[in-house]
Symmetry: C2
Subunit: 446 residues, 2 copies
Amino acid sequence: MNRTLISETISKVGQEVLLKGWVNTRRDHGQIVFIDLRDRTGIVQIVASPGLVAGLHSEDVIYVTGLVKARPEKLVNLKLATGTVEIDAQKIELVSKATKLPFDLGQETLQLELPTLLDNRALTLRHPKVQAIFRVQEVIIDAFHRALKAKDFMEFQAPSIIPSIPEGGAEVFEVKYFEHKAYLAQSPQLYKSLLVSAFERVFSVNQVFRAEPSVTTSHIAEFTSLDAEMGFIDSWEEVKDMAEYAIKFILDEVQKNCVKELALFDVTIPVVPAKIPHLKMREAQQIIFERTGRDCRHEKDLAPDDEREICKWATEKHHSELVFISHYPTKFRPFYTYPDDADPEYNQGFDLLGRGREWLTGGRRIHDYQILLQHAREWKVNPAKIKTYLQAFEYGMPPLGGFAFGAERITMFVLGLSNIREASMFPRDMERVDVRLRSNNSVTKK
Amino acid sequence: MNRTLISETISKVGQEVLLKGWVNTRRDHGQIVFIDLRDRTGIVQIVASPGLVAGLHSEDVIYVTGLVKARPEKLVNLKLATGTVEIDAQKIELVSKATKLPFDLGQETLQLELPTLLDNRALTLRHPKVQAIFRVQEVIIDAFHRALKAKDFMEFQAPSIIPSIPEGGAEVFEVKYFEHKAYLAQSPQLYKSLLVSAFERVFSVNQVFRAEPSVTTSHIAEFTSLDAEMGFIDSWEEVKDMAEYAIKFILDEVQKNCVKELALFDVTIPVVPAKIPHLKMREAQQIIFERTGRDCRHEKDLAPDDEREICKWATEKHHSELVFISHYPTKFRPFYTYPDDADPEYNQGFDLLGRGREWLTGGRRIHDYQILLQHAREWKVNPAKIKTYLQAFEYGMPPLGGFAFGAERITMFVLGLSNIREASMFPRDMERVDVRLRSNNSVTKK
């Protein structure tokens, strides 16, 4: 008999089916045993005699042959996707026996400390609420693909091993590369800009690496960067508008495809108006000063408190949970950021803030080779170290810009997770690469 | 005026347009100058007076305002996608000046040695025939996504930094990971298998890393691995059939979407029958012996000559340019490969060969925790080093299998390229990370 997926049982009342999955929970009631069976499509209740299920417990892999029966209305448990049917088991085959679990995986929400959640990742990834996080993340990444493809962007695979660290050595992982030193890319920035000279519009979905020397709730050492870059722009606003389009496209897709997942976390996607409001950084600082009396008007950047306040302002004044901030001080942004023509002390870089946090960063880049070279030198970037990148500008580069954001961060912000590690299947940080580094000798201490 | 793309000019005869692109070539004919303008959609001829184009040369970025005119039939150059129209230039704006080129980028096929092609990557990626390689690659990767999504596989992002080298230290890059040693993943194999216990069917598109200590035409140190893994299989043939489906889906998409690109390289996609033929390795060796007299019947693997011969056989006997070979000797494949029940000396791993080369590899994996542990020990794999992976098996893993292949290799084989480096935008090898390692001090010699 062919396998029936659990989600398909609803339409098979009265039929015999073969189901395959994991024992999610087991409840013994004397001469009757209820097994909640889980597969990738949902959970269904199996009704069996004790003899059929002798010795079975959570996470055993079983194949169940049985009859699909409609359940009496009053018994329908709304938490089960397939609550309208149950399976009257005729035969149960044990295919893979699970060791006794270290904690109860059958709870509606896992009540585990973060280290326990991650130490047992192969197990906790089976929990429906944990899985929901990665279903949302998959939708975000897939929507990013489709949004950009629809605008004629070409996907490329950015290299991870890079020859040098153009902007200084902090927070970069060193790789022993044959007889040489190489590094892991912090972002595909230079490659995506370079590629504008060949393909005009490019995007990438790639792992990037940050050797953040601190343990915070919003940083991990390896994450999935969603990057886009476009040429022949008329203004930096064109880049901002493309970023707005991409984020809205993504949020719409999450809204449409993740109804169940959003409900599980009791969250809604951010409210945004037809046009996301925009402020220059100095304007934002003035508003914050007027609203709170806190004078940040001469700071070089917005502090976390400022970001929260300006998000509050955007929500109150513009009914928007997202807000663009642009025109940061030129000298505190990367060498390639385009200085504003009217006021070169500030540049045409921008951030998208939402719910008090930074969602996305982008901006126009310098396309003139000589100005770029001059900036590189002023920023103490050795041109010899970015030869391939500079070559693109040396031979004719159109006006360009782009944006980037982390898939894990967006997932975290949308679902209101308290730690970014929850939004990474296998988070890497100072203390962990799968297993904890300190206590585990599988990673050699230097 | 809004930008018109070059491909759109065909339908705008008689209209004034603004085109933006690069000077592809320039031909001076006294009082008239022809500029071939290139953008991401094609090439069109611009007709201008010498005064309008003074000083312009190849790769300058220009904005051209002009009138779209139909070209006299007899002048239509079939090599130009937009050969039926030309642009009578009224105004030309120089937006970005290119340095004089080190070689002629206007040739139909670049006649460059490989080092020159790669040393000037920012420039050679602009050539239409080089771009065609990456258009095909994009279609291959996108088709892989869609093929697997259509079969309910979930996409995941595989981590690149791994804690240890379970199968020995050769050909793995070491990373300085904070105060520890870590490594770059050679494949997402253990993660994708692990994830079957959570999501049943998963796939990934990820950069992977091989410290191949030799320079060959078919190896690079970083490449894009297309990986899939599935649970609840009834036999290894189910995995083979899924691989066959994926490859056929991909080739069909290339066929449909890359007509121009295939023509540029004067190639066709491999001919395959309704069902790709299949042989066990020992059967293949017997056939080779009978056809050539070369006795490889006791070898542990097929040599390159054998692969070519068996591909010839498949083409002649089955009109198939692809052929599956399975049942390699168990002890020469990885510890997790499933031994055949009838003859455990051979396993249920398989390769897909095509046009004399190895296209894809896959197989059924051991799902029983105790057998897996025992194999790990026999293969000298320390279980403590693959803790996260083993956890998935300890707590109930269904029968599983999967397959993997490199995007660059498939691109190379489909287009008949002579070196895999041509199919990588920025190939990394022993001698190169963007720039050549020996001659460039941007990569520090240890």
